[in-house]
Symmetry: C2
Subunit: 248 residues, 2 copies
C-alpha cells in the first residue's frame, strides 16, 4: 500500500515532507487538503489528524501527524535514505532534536506568527489572534540572529557546520520561505541582515533541487494574488491583525 | 567524567530530566541555575546554552539543550535504560516524537503561558508578555481536552494506552505540575473536568516514585510563598499580566 501524504503546498511543514519524499525516491500519493478552503476540518480528515493541521501521513494502517515526527519516521522506516538526513550517530542526532525543538519555540512562532495570523487567516476567514503578529515581530529577528550566529556556526554550509543537509535544514528553510508571502520590501528588510541565513537558504535549495522549486511553485503562484488582495483589503503586513476583525 | 545536568527544580523540563536520570540510575552532577535569580544569563552559562534556558547538559565535551532532545539523548546513549522510555520500535518512537512536538504547540503554550508570564516573571523582575496568559487560558483547556480524549485513549494508563511510561509521559506530566503555582481553587477548576488526565498524573507519579516527589519538593516548598506574594502584590492569577507592568 502506497504511503499517503496529506498536505497543502501553501503550508511550510507540508512542503518539507513532500520535498523529503521526492528527493529520497519514496513512493507516495499526495492528497491535497486545502487549509484555506477549511478542508482540514472535515470529519474524514479529523480521523487522520484530530488537530486539523497539515501535513499528516497514513502508511498502511499507521497514522502520524506533526511534520518533525513524520520526517524522522520516513528517514528511519524507509530504506535507502542517506544517513545525513537523520544521522544514526547519537550526538549528531541529538543536535537535530535540539534544533527541531528550538524551531517550535522560536523560528515557527516568529514566521508563522506573522504570516498566518496577519495574512493567511484574516484573508480566508480562518480563526486568528491579532496579538500574535505583534509578538512574532519581536521573536523573528531574534530567531534569525540565533540561526546566523549559533546554529550556522562552523565551516560547512548547513546547520551545525555540516557538509550535507539534514531534516532540520529542510524543515527550517521551508519555514523561512513562508515569509515570501510578505511584501517584497518587508521580506528584504527582515532577511537582508542575515548573510549566512540567506546563503544557507540558497544552499538548501540547491541541495534539494529540482524538488525544492517544484514544490514551492504553489507558493509563488499565489504570492502575487495574496499580495494584491492584502492591498485591496487594506490589510498590509505592517498593520495587519490590529485593523482586521478577529474571527472567534 | 560525570554527566553534568544544569537545572532549576522550579522549571518543569528540568524536573523531567532530573527524574529521568534518577529513575534510570544515570550517574550525574546537578548544577543549579536559578532562573529566578537570573543565573541563566551569566556568560559562563551562555557558553553552555546560548538561549539562557534550563535544562542543559554537558556530557564530556558534548553540550546539549532542549529537554526533549536531552531525554532522547540520555535514553539512547546510556546503557540500561528500559526500552519503554524511548522504544526502539519505529512506530512507537514516531508517536513519541508526535506528542513531543504537540507538547510545544499546545500544552506548553497553555501551562507555561499562564504560570511563567502571569506569576513567575512578574514576581521576579524577568521579561514577560502580558498578552500571553490571555492566549494561554484559551489553549490550556483545549490541550487538556486533547490529552483526555486523544492521547490518553486506550487501555493502558499511559499515553497511547501504553502500560509503561515513556519520556513523553514524564515531560508532559511535569508540565502540568507547573500549574501547582496557581491558587488551589484555580488549579482544581482547570483540572477537575479531566478525569483521565488526573489519573494519568497519579500513575506517572507512582511509576517514577520516590523521585517524582523528591524532585517536585522544590516546587511545593515555594508554592505557599509565591501564592502569598501574589496576593500581596495584587497579582492574582486571574487578572495578573494585564494589570502588571510589562518589563521590556
Amino acid at each position: 500500500m502506497t504511503l499517503k501524504v496529506y498536505a497543502d503546498r501553501l503550508s511550510q511543514p507540508s512542503r518539507a515532507v513532500l520535498i523529503f519524499c521526492k528527493i529520497n525516491g519514496i513512493d507516495f500519493e499526495e492528497i491535497t487538503v486545502e487549509f484555506l478552503k477549511h478542508q482540514q476540518f472535515t470529519p474524514e480528515y479529523k480521523e487522520i489528524n484530530p488537530m486539523s493541521q497539515v501535513p499528516a501521513i497514513v502508511d498502511g494502517t499507521f497514522k502520524l501527524f506533526e511534520s518533525h515526527a513524520i520526517l524522522i519516521y520516513l528517514a528511519s522506516a524507509y530504506p535507502g535514505v542517506p544517513d545525513h538526513w537523520y544521522p544514526a550517530d547519537v550526538f549528531k542526532r541529538a543536535k537535530i532534536h535540539s534544533v527541531l525543538a528550538w524551531h517550535h519555540s522560536y523560528l515557527r512562532r516568529g514566521a508563522t506568527g506573522i504570516v498566518y495570523h496577519s495574512i493567511m487567516a484574516p484573508l480566508h476567514g480562518l480563526t486568528f489572534d491579532p496579538q500574535v503578529p505583534e509578538q512574532a515581530r519581536k521573536i523573528l529577528p531574534k530567531s534569525l540572529s540565533i540561526l546566523e550566529d549559533y546554529w550556522l556556526e562552523g565551516t560547512g554550509p548547513f546547520l551545525f557546520g555540516n557538509s550535507e543537509p539534514s531534516i532540520a535544514d529542510l524543515s527550517l528553510v521551508c519555514e523561512i520561505m513562508q515569509l515570501e508571502f510578505l511584501s517584497e520590501k518587508e521580506y528584504r528588510e527582515i532577511l537582508s541582515p542575515y548573510k549566512k541565513v540567506l546563503k544557507w537558504i540558497e544552499d538548501t535549495k540547491n541541495a534539494t533541487g529540482p524538488y525544492f522549486d517544484e514544490v514551492h511553485m504553489a507558493l509563488f503562484n499565489v504570492q502575487n494574488e495574496i499580495r494584491e488582495r492584502m492591498v485591496k483589503q487594506s490589510i498590509s503586513s505592517h498593520k495587519g491583525g490590529s485593523e482586521s476583525e478577529c474571527i472567534k
